[in-house]
């Protein structure tokens, strides 16, 4: 039995738009397991990102309960959530969201220094991560506006991993990238997952979804089905077939 990292019970999220309540998530019951590359799929508007942000403590659910270990994170206030995020979560955004006024390296440090007070250790860790995502020293000194989207997203991954989070959340990490750089980013994520990093990724792109070993399909705010694909291997036809079949069943 795999270790449960995150667990939700009757998770619901509503937004009010123009006076009327809109229920984006409805009674989501799910678990995220350690070491998994969990992919949340679904058509746009299915509530994928909302689910991701609720899971990662960016947002509080309207109803229901989210537990991380024995900590009920759905009960935390905004500062408590901030502490939860900085200690246990890493984020990779579709729009990348590096801070424009800081160098790439400082972007990473700004996240790292929040948790880790040992600066020299942090610099070493950052160096390792940058090396792992193949961003040279020179690029690290540049500003986000001066580097390519792919580089920026890989820097975003470094920033997300600097505090060795238990879970890495990725919201359409390839959404703003072209296919080649997108592939690099996916490879990076797969590589980190292989080393034991738990990843939760939201995507509506099948090519990205193949990277996961567990696919959850979200429709109209609830989990319609899930599929265990097993570990990712490149060019595994059987795996591709299984995924396609699952998605077809889900009405993809």
């Amino acid at each position: 039995m795999k270790e449960i990292l995150l667990k939700t019970e009757s998770l619901s999220k509503s937004f009010s738009s123009g006076g009327a309540l809109q229920h984006v998530l409805k009674n989501v019951d799910m678990e995220i397991y350690r070491g998994d590359f969990t992919v949340i799929m679904g058509a746009s508007g299915a509530g994928k990102s909302t689910l991701l942000y609720a899971l990662s403590g960016m947002d509080t659910p309207s109803l229901g309960k989210i537990t991380f270990g024995d900590q009920v994170i759905s009960d935390l206030n905004s500062d408590g959530l901030a502490v939860f995020r900085r200690e246990h979560c890493g984020f990779v955004f579709q729009q990348i969201y590096l801070i424009d006024s800081m160098s790439v390296f400082d972007n990473v440090m700004a996240a790292g220094l929040l948790v880790n007070k040992d600066k020299s250790a942090l610099v070493i860790r950052a160096g390792e991560l940058f090396a792992a995502v193949d961003i040279p020293e020179k690029t690290q000194r540049k500003f986000p506006a001066q580097i390519s989207g792919g580089e920026a997203q890989r820097a975003g991954i470094v920033r997300a991993l600097i505090n060795s989070p238990e879970i890495l959340f990725a919201d359409e990490p390839t959404g703003a990238l072209n296919s080649k750089t997108g592939l690099e980013v996916l490879n990076t994520l797969t590589e980190f997952n292989k080393q034991g990093q738990s990843v939760v990724m939201v995507t509506h792109d099948m090519r990205s979804a193949r990277r996961g070993n567990r696919i959850l399909y979200l429709k109209d705010g609830f989990i319609l089905g899930e599929c265990d694909l097993g570990k990712y291997r490149p060019n595994d036809r059987e795996r591709h077939g299984k995924l396609s079949e699952f998605l077809a069943k889900m009405g993809w």
Partner: protein, 421 residues
């Protein structure tokens, strides 16, 4: 930004030089003696005249005191004018010392002004020399910077303009972000990419126009075909040329109208259904309000409500609760126990009174139309409530279960959770 700094530095330098110059030009040349100090010297010498050996200089001046014979009897330091003649040559101040009404000696106050003028002139020369050097180096540095920042990048722009003019919009302009023209060159590049986009958009619009035209021409072909067929038939049946023609026209028009009207009606008819149940998502928290609403005699004890999202029609659900509570008031009129819990992916609302329930054989019949329990004797009612409630619940994908509990009639309303349909 950088040229701003240089300009400001230059302006400040010029301003400084100008103020210095003005200050020097309008500075009062303190050539004259400080009369107050001289007076003090004279007065103190007068006071000490009887005993000049003990005289102490109380001023900052240098002076020599001569007796009536021209002999030096006091001097503050060496190197001063020690005779009237030397004093005149050096423009020193010579004053008489009067004691007891007669002139007893002279005091020669040294003129220090000429030395001061000399030294200030030297300072001026030095200051101007240094500032000129700084200015020149600033200018040279700035010229060099201008060459690097303006002239070189401009050369780079030349090739770019040629490419754009030739219609090649794919090669971006290389930007040197460090130079002054970073923003400027970027706007050129923006222009290039805008042009490219505009070109692409134009191509797309053209393509979609063609598509539309193709589709419309296809759609029009069908009615045209039938008009053709009918007119042929009409032409075959009638001899009269005019009638044949008219027949064909009417037939074709009537056909079109029927299709169009058919579409319109089918759409409108859909909406004409009564007592519809339209379930939607609803947070479970709203239940407590609904239950309190139904329980207007305040007889119910309502348990905590588990948080979840329900799939229900709020209006109809309220009617269901109203009905159940009203029945309980009517037939049992006891306290009511309401327990709410999750059960099998549904939310169960268990409503139980202490009225003893109904006969076991009557239970399955309660949900039927116009059916009432055996204890309904003497109580008004039509017996429609539970039937409709049951229908509502079914339409909400829920269920209404009626059974006898330990103390009374127990009605369980099972509400579907959203996401499970």
């Amino acid at each position: 930004m950088r040229n701003g700094v240089v300009t400001v530095a230059l302006i400040i330098m010029f301003a400084l030089e100008l103020t210095l110059l003005i200050w020097f030009a309008f500075r009062k040349t303190e050539g004259g003696q400080d009369t107050v100090a001289v007076n003090e010297a004279v007065q103190s010498v007068r006071g000490d005249w009887r005993d000049m050996a003990s005289h102490v200089n109380k001023t900052e001046l240098d002076y020599v005191v001569l007796d009536s014979g021209g002999k030096v009897i006091f001097k503050t330091k060496e190197g001063l004018s020690e005779s009237v003649n030397a004093a005149v040559a050096h423009r020193d101040t010579i004053l008489d010392i009067e004691v007891g009404g007669c002139v007893s000696g002279k005091i020669i106050v040294y003129n220090a002004g000429s030395d001061a003028l000399e030294s200030s002139r030297n300072v001026l020369a030095l200051v101007f020399g240094i500032s000129a050097a700084v200015q020149i180096s600033l200018c040279v540095g700035y010229l060099f910077y201008l060459y690097r920042a303006v002239i070189k990048p401009f050369r780079g722009l030349k090739g770019f303009a040629e490419r754009v003019a030739g219609g090649n919009l794919d090669i971006p302009l290389e930007m040197d972000r460090d130079n002054l023209f970073g923003a400027f060159t970027e706007s050129f590049d923006i222009m290039r990419s805008e042009l490219k986009k505009a070109k692409l958009a134009e191509a797309q619009v053209n393509a979609s126009k063609k598509e539309l035209v193709a589709k419309l021409s296809h759609d029009i072909r069908t009615p045209v075909a039938s008009i053709k067929a009918l007119s042929e038939l009409g032409a075959a049946l009638f001899e009269n040329e005019k009638t044949r023609e008219t027949f064909g026209r009417i037939n074709s028009k009537a056909d079109q109208i029927t299709t169009l009207a058919g579409n319109l009606f089918s759409a409108a008819l859909e909406e004409l259904r009564q007592l519809t149940v339209t379930p939607s998502d609803m947070p479970s928290g709203e239940l407590s309000g609904m239950l309190e609403n139904a329980d207007y005699f305040n007889k119910a004890r309502i348990s905590d409500i588990p948080e979840c999202m329900l799939y229900a029609d709020k209006l109809r659900l309220q009617q269901v609760f109203d009905n159940i509570f009203a029945n309980s008031y009517k037939y049992a009129n006891t306290d009511i126990e309401v327990r709410i819990f999750l059960q099998n992916k549904r939310l169960a609302v268990e409503i139980e009174d202490r009225g003893g329930g109904v006969n076991a054989e009557e239970l399955p019949l309660l949900k039927e139309k116009f059916r009432r329990g055996g204890n309904s004797v003497g109580v008004d009612g039509a017996g429609l409530g539970l039937y409709i409630s049951d229908r509502f619940m079914t339409e909400m994908k829920g269920e209404l279960i009626i059974e006898n509990g330990s103390a009374g009639l127990k009605i369980t309303v099972l509400i579907s959770l959203s996401g499970n349909n």
